[in-house]
């Protein structure tokens, strides 16, 4: 919302759209509004006639008019009651539309970036504001039109010349109000944004209070917050100034007509108006026009601004509702039965135009049926590689093929990320998320294979509803793993998907996956994953090497380091396969290298019992890995090449 008119235009578009989209509800609103306005139209006339009747000493006639007014009141009340039902039929579907837009918007946006769970609460809250205010405006603005219209109509039938006197100040005030509306919306928006900023900064301050104090940065933080607070106070004063303008508009259009009628009263009576008629005209102004105006100015002033501002923000944040990725292009090449499971050709990827590439010039071929573990320090690009293989990220250069076709087809691969997704639904629904057609016995078998049976029993069986919040991270990961296991896709990518399981449970799950037909890529959290894999891909930031667990230490210092640390019995990384590394023999063997320092780094975890000394004739998977730069020194393995197979 950048221009003054935009706020009003947005309101108008929204209201018009909501009304046009539901013509039946809109005409019902129209009809009941007319009925609701009946007492307003009758009021002045009835008071006029009754007053004159009282003055003429004709109480029966006066009573009849008052009775007529009472009947009109009952009719109006009935209309009012029905009117709200009709309004519900306009507002509630509108709210439904907004909830849908916000949900889809948040969902699709979070698929492309980081999930923003804060947005949920905020957007739900904002949707409610819009519902309240949109409903409020329909009540207020529509109410004003009908009430003012009815009062003017009644006035016109009572004393047409008075109507002409009343109209100019009324219109002038409304114009003033309308003119200030857009500018006021901008101030109000500043207030809302400022409030959010203060909330954000205070939360950050409170959460990081220890850090602020420990860094001695109190003054810096205080000054920033103080600036935000002062800006907010200025915004508050600006809003108050516009509230004053609103009050001025109300005074012009509400009080001036009254004075005009009073001033004209002697002249009107000289022209034959009865006292009752003057009283009636005043009644129309005081009890028809003025209340209608007051509700309009206050209602539209407060809630109208809130609606314009909040709706603007909702539309800003939920506008782009588009699929997260272009749909997979119609296969430019036929799926080849002999195509490798995954093929990366000269793939380069960076998270921004000026960012250093995370992956550069990577060639990698993963044959069908392979079991590949990817290891490397945190932040080195392992998850990026997983996302590229899954087609969730598109490479800047090069191409990624899955079974000979561009990556990204959900039917061709399954990616299970570290943060396991379990939703509120039955256990069965959660497990068959990727395989809706799975047979019950397959589900049970999969759960047994992965060691999930006990959890299912504890949860109350396959038909029981899961409360994700009540599960531990490890339990959620087990469910997600079982889901992947059941999926029909031939390629499974596990991105640290078992990192919250204990080492034994992780081993069981990975072994189950290894037995499952198809290709398995494991982004390893523990080096034990690499030990189990058929081949290992080591990423160290400059090089990428593939080899067998037994062979890699000879060529990759990083890998040597990783397994060395792991085997030295670092208590943070327990290792079930290396039981002899738990600690020193006893007192007196302490070593500055730590509890396991007395053990020479070895390869006790090697399941193949292959001697770790590199040999020139090592069997290697030539032509599958490459780094961004060939490294002559390491070509002992001969596995580094610039180009993949042609």
């Amino acid at each position: 919302m950048t221009s003054r008119r935009e706020a009003a235009r947005l309101l108008w578009r929204t209201a018009a759209g909501a009304v046009r989209g539901r013509p039946r509800a809109a005409s019902a609103v129209l009809a009941w509004s007319l009925l609701e306005a009946v007492p307003t139209a009758v009021f002045g006339r009835a008071v006029a006639q009754a007053t004159d009747a009282f003055l003429d000493d004709r109480p029966v006639r006066a009573a009849a008019w008052l009775a007529a007014l009472a009947v009109a009141a009952v009719v109006g009340a009935y209309g009012s009651r029905r009117l709200y039902l009709a309004l519900a039929a306009l507002v509630e579907p509108f709210r439904d539309d907004l909830v849908r837009a916000v949900t889809r918007g948040a969902l699709y946006r979070s698929l492309r970036g980081r999930p923003d769970t804060g947005a949920v609460a905020r957007l739900t809250h904002q949707v409610e504001i819009v519902r309240d205010t949109f409903g409020g405006i329909l009540v207020v603005a529509r109410g004003f039109v009908f009430a003012a219209g009815a009062a003017l109509l009644g006035l016109a039938t009572l004393m047409p010349e008075v109507t002409l006197l009343v109209l100019p100040p009324l219109v002038a005030g409304l114009v003033l109000f309308g003119a200030a509306f857009g500018a006021a919306a901008i101030r109000q928006r500043a207030l809302v944004v400022g409030e959010e900023e203060i909330a954000e900064r205070t939360t950050a301050l409170a959460e990081g209070l220890r850090d602020v104090v420990a860094c001695g940065a109190e003054d810096q933080v205080r000054e920033r917050l103080a600036a935000a607070v002062d800006a907010q106070a200025a915004a508050g004063r600006a809003v108050a100034r516009f509230a004053a303008v609103r009050a001025l508009a109300l005074a012009v259009s509400g009080w001036l007509p009254l004075l005009v009628v009073l001033a004209a009263a002697p002249w009107l009576m000289r022209r034959g108006a009865t006292p009752g008629m003057v009283v009636g005209a005043l009644a129309y102004v005081l009890h028809g026009l003025q209340p209608a105006l007051r509700t309009l100015v206050q209602g539209m002033g407060g809630s109208g601004l809130r609606l314009a501002v909040t709706l603007g923000r909702i539309l800003e944040t939920s506008a782009p509702v588009a699929p997260p990725l272009p749909p997979v292009a119609e296969a430019p090449r036929e799926e080849r039965a002999d195509a490798p499971a995954v093929e990366l050709r000269g793939v380069t990827f960076a998270y921004g135009a000026s960012a250093r590439p995370v992956i550069s010039g990577l060639d990698l071929t993963i044959p069908r049926g392979d079991h590949l573990a990817v290891v490397g320090p945190s932040g080195i690009g392992k998850s990026t590689l997983a996302a590229l293989v899954a087609g969730l990220l598109a490479p800047l250069e090069g191409e990624v093929l899955v079974a000979g076709r561009p990556a990204g087809d959900p039917a061709a691969r399954v990616l299970i990320p570290q943060e396991a997704y379990v939703f509120t639904g039955t256990v069965h629904e959660n497990l068959t998320y990727l395989a809706p057609d799975a047979r019950d016995e397959d589900v049970v078998r999969a759960a047994d294979e992965l060691g999930l049976a006990r959890l299912v029993r504890d949860l109350g069986g396959y038909g029981a509803t899961v409360d994700p919040a009540a599960l531990t991270e490890g339990q959620r990961q087990l469910i997600a793993l079982c889901r992947a296991y059941l999926a029909p896709a031939p390629l499974i990518v596990l991105d640290e998907a078992a990192c919250r399981l204990d080492a034994a449970a992780e081993a069981r799950a990975e072994e189950a996956f290894a037995r499952r037909p198809g290709t398995l890529v494991v982004i390893a959290h523990r080096v034990s994953s690499a030990v189990r894999a058929r081949r290992v891909l080591v990423l160290d930031g400059t090089h990428a090497r593939v080899g067998r667990h037994a062979d890699l230490p000879a060529v990759s210092p990083l890998y040597r380091d990783l397994i060395g640390r792991w085997e030295s019995g670092d208590p943070d990384r327990p290792s079930p396969e290396a039981p002899g590394t738990a600690g020193p023999e006893g007192p007196g063997t302490a070593d500055p290298e730590g509890p396991g320092g007395s053990q020479p780094p070895g390869l006790l975890g090697d399941p193949d019992r292959v001697h770790p000394v590199p040999r020139a004739d090592l069997p290697v998977d030539a032509g599958e890995v490459v780094a961004d730069r060939p490294d002559r020194q390491d070509e002992v393995l001969g596995d580094l090449r610039r180009r993949g197979p042609a």
Partner: protein, 566 residues
């Protein structure tokens, strides 16, 4: 209602009123003027109407009081809007400044959850800020209805009685509304909560959903309870419609009754036509007890907000001294320190310039010791000295310049990644900041961010390990005499951990380094190990010396009998 907080809240409101300057006075003045005009205007109207018939009293002279009162009322309303808003803005800002200042003064000892601090500073202060204007408005809001009844009685007592009888019906109406709408709103909110919960779930699983291509299915699942929401929403409209209809009917019937009663008096010659108009006006005014209720509710909310703010302001803030840190190499002394029910009479001297690892089982008070070292917490008994000076005697800035911290889960501040490293009492040159990042092994991943060091912090999602490296870089950039690493490398992968610890040992070799460690490897590389157990120092020496004790080995989870290799 004599709790210190309540008294504090009221004192706070008085303070807020004082600081909202002349605006609060203006609010009171305009409220009184507006109420006076509202009460007097119908009388003036009556005179003007009665002067209208030809041959009566001078019409012009009867009109002027109306003009004057209308002008007064309009001016009061315009000024009131301005004054109310400005007084609230100033009072709120004053409260917020006070809160922020105090929160920073109290520091980590603050016993209020973080979300709550924001809630009190934003919502609480804003509500309390309305008090200076709400109080006079609430007091004055009683004037028009009371005045209306009084004047009505003055015109004709029968009219006043008729109106007074009709009033309880209106009060009853309001109560029904509040009850009905609350039940229905509650159900509505619970359906809405279900939808929000499902959306939150789905957002947390965004990566899975993106990979599975099931976004549309998820959207449908999230939105499944929507019809229920609509049903509850419609119920709320029905309730509101009922209330609106009753309200309309009540007001109209009240006015019909007023006209009827005044008409009868008119017929009897006891009132004039003008007074009939005034009677209908006064009936409306007298029914206006609603605004009184609104103002009283507002005042109640304002006091609640002030109480919430006062709860923060009443937390004691540690007093600072003004002494400079004496010459020295950063020797820390703990003398008979008891704190948090965890440390009991701990005596410890950390020699200056050494790397000292603090180890112990979880819950042994290691982090508390770290906090005490730089006065992030004060001991209950005993004292902590830096180079001979008790910490409370030192000026805050002095202390911070000499004692730096890195934490297990640091919180970063600043606009950009570079700002986050520079965060501190002063801003070191950029080259030094980058150097610090390199030392902390943060340079590598920072340069992979979309805009490198200039990447806005909000656009730089970091893993636990990356966050720790940023925290280390920040500590390195401002390193003074003492560097406290509170489990600051726990999320780093093994290789990086070795590099960072190496840097701490080599590059900062002349500083005192207090390293809270969980890994045996870290303890092994320190010059000295302090072993905490049962709130006291159980052992002191090199890692190799202490390792002989099986109980010490047990601290690192090395089970007995250790080394039972197959």
């Amino acid at each position: 209602m004599t709790s210190p907080t309540t008294a504090g809240a009221d004192r706070l409101l008085v303070g807020a009123a004082r600081h909202s300057g002349g605006w609060t006075g203006l609010v009171a003045a305009t409220a009184v003027a507006d109420a006076l005009a509202a009460v007097l205007l119908p009388l003036a109207l009556a005179r003007a109407v009665d002067a209208a018939p030809p041959g009566g009293p001078s019409a012009a002279s009867a009109l002027w009081p109306c003009v004057a009162l209308v002008l007064l009322s309009a001016t009061a309303e315009v000024l009131s809007e301005l004054a109310t808003g400005c007084s609230a803005a100033r009072a709120t800002a004053w409260l917020r400044h006070a809160l922020v200042r105090h929160v920073l003064a109290v520091g980590p000892a603050l016993r209020v959850p973080p979300g709550d601090v924001a809630g009190r500073t934003v919502g609480g202060a804003a509500e309390a800020g309305t008090a200076p204007s709400a109080a006079p408005e609430a007091a004055v809001a009683l004037l028009p209805p009371l005045g209306a009844l009084t004047v009505l009685a003055f015109i004709d007592w029968r009219l006043a009685v008729a109106v007074a009888v009709a009033l309880p019906a209106i009060v009853l109406l309001l109560r029904v509304f509040v009850r009905d709408i609350t039940a229905s709103a509650h159900r509505y909110l619970s359906v809405q909560g279900t939808i929000a919960g499902r959306l939150a779930e789905a957002l947390a699983g965004a990566r899975t959903i993106a990979a599975a291509g099931t976004a549309e299915r998820e959207a449908e699942r999230v939105l499944r309870p929507l019809p229920g929401l609509r049903a509850e929403g419609e119920t709320m409209w029905t309730v509101q419609g009922g209330v609106a209809a009753r309200g309309l009917l009540t007001l109209l019937l009240l006015q019909v009754a007023a006209v009827g009663a005044a008409g009868a008096e008119l017929m009897a010659g006891r009132v004039t036509a003008g007074e009939l108009v005034a009677t209908v006006q006064y009936a409306g005014l007298a029914a206006g007890f609603g605004p009184v209720l609104t103002h009283v509710l507002r005042l109640g909310r304002a006091r609640a907000g002030a109480r919430r703010a006062a709860e923060i302001l009443e937390q004691p803030a540690p007093a600072d001294g003004d002494a400079a840190v004496p010459e020295g190499r950063g020797t820390l002394e703990f003398r008979g320190v008891s704190a948090g029910g965890v440390l009991h009479g701990l005596d410890l001297t950390v020699p200056g310039g050494l790397a000292v690892a603090v180890v112990g089982r979880s819950g042994a008070g290691k982090s508390l010791l770290a906090a005490l070292a730089g006065r992030l917490a004060d001991p209950d008994r005993g004292e902590v000295l830096l180079d001979g000076a008790p910490l409370p005697r030192l000026a805050r800035t002095e202390l911070r310049r000499h004692v730096g911290y890195a934490f297990a889960r640091p919180t970063l501040f600043g606009e950009t990644v570079l700002d986050a490293i520079a965060f501190g009492p002063c801003r070191p040159p950029e080259s030094w900041l980058r150097e610090s990042a390199r030392t902390a092994c943060a340079d590598d991943f920072v340069r992979r961010l979309p805009q490198g060091y200039a990447t806005p912090l909000a656009d730089a999602p970091m893993s636990g390990g990356e966050l720790q490296r940023m925290g280390l870089a920040r500590a390195f950039a401002h390193a003074g005499r003492v560097l406290v690493l509170d489990d600051a490398t726990s999320s780093l992968d093994t290789v990086t951990e070795v590099q960072v610890t190496g840097a701490v040992l080599d590059r900062f070799g002349d500083r005192t380094r207090l390293i809270i460690a969980h890994r045996a490897g870290t303890a092994a590389r320190a010059d000295l190990v302090v072993w905490l157990d049962g709130g006291r120092v159980r052992g002191r020496g090199t890692h190799a010396e202490l390792w002989r004790d099986p109980a010490y080995r047990a601290v690192f989870g090395v089970a007995e009998p250790a080394g039972a290799a197959p």
